[in-house]
Subunit: 486 residues, 2 copies
C-alpha cells in the first residue's frame, strides 16, 4: 500500500477552480494546512479550525504544493460535490495472548513495523492483552500515530486500543454486562472484560465517533451456549452507539464481532444503528474470497474448526455511517490473505481489514438513522428477543439448581454441626472418624461457597437478560408505533 | 401541592395574541392538544408532533379551554419569550431494603399514595431494591404515570426506577466500574450494581435526557476509604452524561450522590457537565435548612452519624441544564422536613426533593456546555485526579499483598503435598496427625482461593483507577489547550 495522505478536494482532476470550490485551504510555507468550515446550527465546530495533527499535510497529488486558495470564505453548500476527505482505516484482532499465542512478540513487532510503514489514519486493534505490547507499539508508532488510547477493563483487560494520526479528544468505555461464565476457564472470555471503546476524533472539523470492540467468541456453532450473551453484547453495543453518537458527523466501528454476516446479532446491530458494512459497500475489493478474516490458509488458525467453512468465515468488520449531513462511501476494502504484506508470517490468526473511506458533504437532508425498513427491523428485534428469552430461561434454571445445591450443602454443614454438638454434649453414640468427618465438612464448605458464588452469578445473568429483553420490548413498541404512524 | 398541569404559553397574563405568538396549540373537543414545533437543523423532531401523554392536557389557567390558535405555522424564533414548559420533578432515596429497612412496606405504600395524589411529571426513585415494591408502585401509579422503567443490574439490582407522565422513548444503563469491595459485607454497596440509568422522554417536542443515579455511600467522612471509588463513579457519571446528552434539549439528573455540595466529586460532576444545582438556583425554597436531605429530625436517621452536622447534610440532588437553545430555571424547590406531607411517618430516612422547573426557548446562542471557568475546572480535575491517584496506590498495595498471600498459601499446599508423597514413598519419619494435617490443608486452600479472588478483584480495581486517571489526564490536556487557545 502506498503512503496515504489525507486528500482535500481534488478527488478528480485537480484544477485551481476545484480548490476554490473545494475545502478552502491555506497551505503554509511548510505545507501545514488549515481547513475552514462553516457548519450551520452546530455549536461545537468553530470556524477556522487549526488541523490538529502536528505533522504537515502533503498537498494533493498533482497539485502545486504552495497552492493557496483565495477569495472570501465559502460555506459548505458551495463546496458540495467538490470536497472529499479520504480516510484509511486498519482493523485487526492481534491474537496477542501472553504465554499462549504463538510467536506473539515477533508478530507484534511485525504489526508495528507494517503500521509505521503503511501510515493509516486510524488503527483499531483487538486482543492486545498485554499492556507491555501496547507500550511497545506506542513507542514504535509515536512518530506516525501521535495519539493512542488503551482501554483498561476486567482482570486481563479489554484488549482494545486505538492509534490515530489525529488528536483524540475524548474516550469512553462501556463494559458489556454479560460475557460468558467464570467457570468456563478453557474459554476465558469472562476474565477479559469485553467492552466497546469509544474515541472521539475531529478531522478538519468533522467529528468522528470511532468505536472498537470485541464480542464473545463462538466455540460451537451448532450448540452455541454463548449466543444469548453475544446478543446482549450486540444489543448493548448498538444502544451505546445510538446514544453516544448523536452529535457525531461520522460513526466508525471496527472489531471482531465473532458473528457471521447473516447472523441475527449482526442484523440486529446494523438494523438498530443504521451502520453499513464496508465489505458489502466497497467499490473495489481485494483479499480473501467473501471477505473472510478467519481462513484455513492462515498458519495459525485451527483447521478443524474451519472444516464446515472451506473458504473461511468473516467475523471482523469495519462498519460506518454518516449521521448529520455527511456521506460516507467505502472506496476500497482489502484484507490480508494469510500472511502480512511482503512477509511469510501472518499478523495474527485473523486477517487484517483495511478500508479506504471517502467522506463528503451530503447534498440532501440528513441521512436516516435506521437503514433497515421498520417491518424488517421488527422481525430482527423479535428474533433476537426470542434468543435472549431462551438464554433467560436457561439462566433461571441454573440459578435455581445452584441455589438448591447451596441449600443442600448448608444443610449438610448444619447436620455436621449438630452431630459435633451432640458428641460434645455426650448425647451421641460412637463419634465419626475425624478425618472423614473433616473432609466431609471441607467438601460441604467448598460446595456451599461455589454454589453460592454461581447462584449470585446466575442471578446477575438473569437480571441482565431480563433487562435486555425489556429494552427490546420497548424498542419493538416504539418501532410498531412508528410503523402504524405511517 | 396542587395538581400541576403542564402549561403552554400564558406564564404571564394570558391574551389571545399571546397564544398566537406562543406555542401554537390545537385544543380538541376533549381537550387533547398537539403542539406544533419547528426546530431548525434537528432531524429527530418532526413538525406537528402528537403529544405523547395519553391523557388530556388541561387548558392554561385563565384561558378559554376551547381556544384554538389560527394562522400560519410559526417558527420558534417568533415564539421566544412566550412559551414556558413547567415540569414537576420528584426525587427520593426510598430506603427500601427488604428485611432491613424499618416499616418498608408501609412507607412504599405511602410513597405510592402521595405520588398518586400529587401528580408530578417525573418521579426519580433510588433504593427500590425489591422488584416487588417496584411492581406494587407501578400497579398503583399506572393511572397517573403510565410510563415507568426499572433498571436491573448487579446481584441485588440498581435500586433505580423512573415513573413518568410522558412516553419513555428509550433507556440505557451504565454500570459503574468500581463500587466498593465485596468483602465489606457490612456495607454491601458492592452487591448493589450501582449504576446510572438514562431515560429519554419527549415532551411537546423537547427531548429530555433524564438520569437517575445512586453513588457509593460515605461511611466515615474523616477516613473515607471509598472516596476514590466515588470519584471514579462521579467521573463516569459526568462522562456518561456528556457523551449521551449531545442531542438532548434538556438534561436532568436526580439522585442520591452521597456527596456534600462542596465535595470534590460534586464540583467535578458539575464542572465537567455544566449541570446546575436546583437548590442553589431556586427562586423559592421551602424545606429543611440548607436543603438538607439527611436530617436529625427524621425518625429513621442514625443520630450519631449526624452529630458533626446538627442541621443535617445535603446529599440528594436535582441538577439540570439546557443543551441546545433552551433555558431551564428552577422556579421552586422543596424538601420534606422529617415526615411525609400530612403524615407522621417519613417517606424514608432521606428527605424527598421536589423541583418545579421552567423550560423555555432561549433567545441567544446555545448555552455553553461547561459552566465552570476553565482554570477552576482544571483545578477540580487535578484535585480529583490526585485523590484517584491515592486510591490507585492503595489498590496496588492491596493487589501486591493479596498476591503474596496467595503465593504463600500455594507454597504451603505444595509443601503438604510433598510431605504426603514422602510419607507414601516411605521416605518420611513419623507421619503428621491426620486431623491437623487436613485442617491445615483446608486452611491453605481457603486462603489460596480467597487471596486469589481478592488479587483478581484488586487487579480490576487498579485497572479502572488507572483508566480513570488517564481519562482525567486527557481531559486536563484538552482543557489546557482550550485555555491556551484563549
Amino acid at each position: 500500500m502506498q503512503e496515504s495522505p489525507i486528500l482535500f478536494g481534488c478527488m478528480g482532476p485537480c484544477l485551481g477552480a476545484g480548490w476554490g470550490l473545494g475545502w478552502p485551504l491555506q497551505v503554509g510555507e511548510e505545507g501545514t494546512a488549515w481547513a475552514r468550515l462553516e457548519h450551520p446550527g452546530r455549536s461545537f465546530i468553530p470556524a477556522w479550525l487549526p488541523r490538529s495533527a502536528p505533522f504537515p499535510v502533503p498537498a494533493p497529488r498533482g497539485c502545486h504544493p504552495n497552492l493557496v486558495p483565495t477569495g472570501p470564505p465559502l460555506s459548505w453548500r458551495a463546496m458540495e460535490g467538490d470536497s472529499t476527505l479520504q480516510l484509511h482505516v486498519f482493523d485487526l484482532n492481534c491474537w496477542a495472548i501472553r504465554y499462549l499465542s504463538k510467536r506473539r512478540q515477533e508478530r507484534v513487532r511485525l504489526i508495528g513495523d507494517v503500521l509505521r510503514q503503511e501510515r493509516f489514519d486510524l488503527v483499531l486493534l483487538q486482543e492486545v492483552w498485554s499492556e507491555q505490547d501496547y507500550s511497545e507499539l506506542k513507542a514504535k508508532l509515536g512518530g506516525c500515530y501521535p495519539f493512542s488510547h488503551y482501554f483498561r477493563s476486567g482482570v486481563i483487560g479489554s484488549g482494545l486500543c486505538v492509534f490515530s494520526r489525529f488528536t483524540i479528544l475524548d474516550t469512553l468505555l462501556y463494559q458489556y454486562s454479560l460475557n460468558g461464565y467464570p467457570y468456563m476457564l478453557q474459554h476465558g472470555d469472562w476474565f477479559c472484560g469485553k467492552s466497546v471503546g469509544l474515541v472521539i476524533i475531529k478531522i478538519s472539523g468533522i467529528i468522528f465517533n470511532v468505536y472498537v470492540t470485541h464480542l464473545h467468541a463462538e466455540y460451537c456453532r451448532e450448540k452455541d451456549a454463548y449466543l444469548p450473551h453475544r446478543l446482549v453484547q450486540a444489543w448493548e453495543l448498538a444502544q451505546f452507539i445510538r446514544h453516544t453518537s448523536k452529535a457525531a458527523d461520522v460513526v466508525l466501528l471496527g472489531g471482531d464481532l465473532n458473528m457471521h454476516p447473516e447472523d441475527v446479532g449482526i442484523r440486529l446491530l446494523r438494523g438498530w444503528t443504521g451502520l453499513q458494512d464496508a465489505f458489502a459497500e466497497a467499490k473495489h475489493f481485494e483479499g480473501c474470497k467473501d471477505g473472510c478474516t478467519l481462513i484455513p490458509n492462515n498458519c495459525f488458525t485451527i483447521k478443524t474448526e474451519l472444516l464446515p467453512f472451506p473458504l473461511g468465515i468473516r467475523i471482523d468488520y469495519i462498519l460506518y455511517k454518516a449521521i448529520s449531513s455527511f456521506m460516507v462511501k467505502c472506496e476500497e476494502l482489502k484484507t490480508t490473505t494469510g500472511s502480512a504484506p511482503g512477509r511469510d508470517i501472518p499478523f495474527s490468526d485473523h486477517e487484517a481489514v483495511m478500508a479506504t473511506l471517502h467522506i463528503r458533504r451530503h447534498r440532501g437532508a440528513a441521512s436516516a438513522t435506521l437503514s433497515t425498513a421498520v417491518p424488517a427491523l421488527v422481525d430482527v428485534v423479535t428474533e433476537a428477543r426470542t434468543e435472549v428469552g431462551v438464554g433467560l430461561r436457561a439462566a433461571q434454571r441454573q440459578r435455581y439448581s445452584t441455589g438448591r445445591l447451596a441449600v443442600l450443602a448448608l444443610l449438610l454443614l448444619l447436620l455436621q454441626a449438630a452431630a459435633v454438638l451432640g458428641t460434645l454434649a455426650g448425647l451421641g453414640g460412637q463419634p465419626f472418624p475425624k478425618l472423614s468427618f473433616s473432609l466431609l465438612a471441607f467438601l460441604a464448605v467448598g460446595i456451599l461457597l461455589l454454589a453460592t458464588g454461581l447462584h449470585l452469578f446466575h442471578t446477575i445473568e438473569v437480571k441482565m437478560l431480563q433487562g435486555t429483553e425489556e429494552q427490546m420490548r420497548m424498542a419493538l413498541r416504539v418501532l410498531q408505533e412508528r410503523a402504524s404512524d405511517g
